[in-house]
Amino acid sequence: MISVKNIYKNFGTLSVLKGVSLEIEKGEKIVIIGPSGSGKSTFLRCMNLLEEPTYGEVWVDDDLVTPIDPYLHADVIKASNTFGKMAAEAGEAADADAIIKEIKEKDLLNEKHEGSQYKKLMKRLFKENALDVNLARQRIGMVFQQFNLFNNLTVLDNITLAPIKLKNISKAEAEERAFQLLDRIGLRDKAQVFPAMLSGGQKQRIAIVRALAMDPEIMLFDEPTSALDPEMVGEVLDVMKELARTGMTMVVVTHEMGFAKEVGTRLLFMDEGKILEDAPPKEFFDAPKTQRAQEFLSKVL
């Protein structure tokens, strides 16, 4: 459903993601854990392009969300001047695969000097595959650690704003749907209230249904309970568990190991910008393979 191909993300000289790839199938509940600063948030944010990856591509089904990464396309590399020069220098003995490999490894491509063949191909690939980022985001819901409800809008307007603007439905329809969603989390009576009047748990539950109102195909959660007082964690996890039961595809960054075991179908352990482990949760918790994961678990469990 979503396929993340060899993502790198640098902030200036800081390298935060170092070659992350992931195939997400429909209905999967992927839980991501790992030490703070390991790049979990950045990884989620690359999936809906809140951050643009430095290298790599993100695809939603057959649609490309990011720009084209030339290093992922051998035919693009072959069309480049750099490849042409290196092949000419090698002469008779030229081995295309070896040259491509060297170009990839040493990051030799330079957009400015790759010639018209290369540019044409890049443009064509982009045209054929790229999906407008706003359309892609409509299919990918996101829930933030800090809730991020719109402070200037009532709960009802928070939920209906995007559907009315983007889904071509009437205000009445959008509100009817919003009330259904509010019923689902037991907060119908808060429809006309501003976010400032709500508890953290209430805010986060509303943030979840706000995302659901767009009928996304997948939901990303970035530490949805980390900013909550302990007594409110349960109510938010309950909404997420219910959502999991409806078959929603979910990617959840969390420190709630209980939730990971109960709901997760796949557990990713991230450290220093890489996915070090990818296993069913039970397997992971019983016998983590890497030393980093063992150390991490001994600290948090």
């Binding site: 719109f150 200037n152 704003l161 995007a162 983007l166 706000r210």
Partner: protein
Amino acid sequence: MDFIGKFKKLWNALFIKGSGDGYMRVLTGLRNTVIIAVCGLLIGIVIGTLIAVVRVVPKTNRALRALDKLCTLYVAFFRGTPMVVQLLLGYFVLLPLMGVKLSSLMVCVLIFGLNSGAYVSEIMRSGLLSVDVGQTEAGRALGLSFSQTMTRIVVPQAVKNILPTLGNEFITLIKETSIVSFVGAVDLYSAFNYIGSANYEYMLPYLAMAVIYIIMVLGISGLIKLMERRLRKGDKR
């Protein structure tokens, strides 16, 4: 000093002498002052918001960077020269060069708007930056475009945060209107100046002018305070 005599003269100039065109002038001046300040601020808010948005968006391409430079220049010019100079340039240089005919009142409104745009852009920029980036990210993550997120979520919150400062800008504009007679527009100053010159008696007319300015400014300050309190009640954060 003969206060009674002076007062009589003012009274006559205002309401009796020359079929009472004194108080008509004062009213016209008052009306112009309000028109220039209100319209100037409205134009200023529109221009200022646009400039502020240009200045806070990530500069992803060359066009945006050029636009940003242009805005910087604009702000530097209008903040770096006296408004009288801008007014004179507009009325006596720009208009004739462009071959456009506008009333002096219109020119004042335009120049005040352009000038205010420079100041409002700085106010608005700090307002936009005061809105948590999480608000923008939540909007964009839902699939809303940059402009939809700005107009529905970020700008309304920014405006709320800067309302008191905008009120101060309005007061500044009200006070600045006392220069519009440089291009021949009637304002409070020129009205009372006319009354004073009618019988070479300036003391009370200028005193009256000061009183009217003070009353206006105090009134507006009061309104701003009221609005602030109202708004604060709305969000217990």
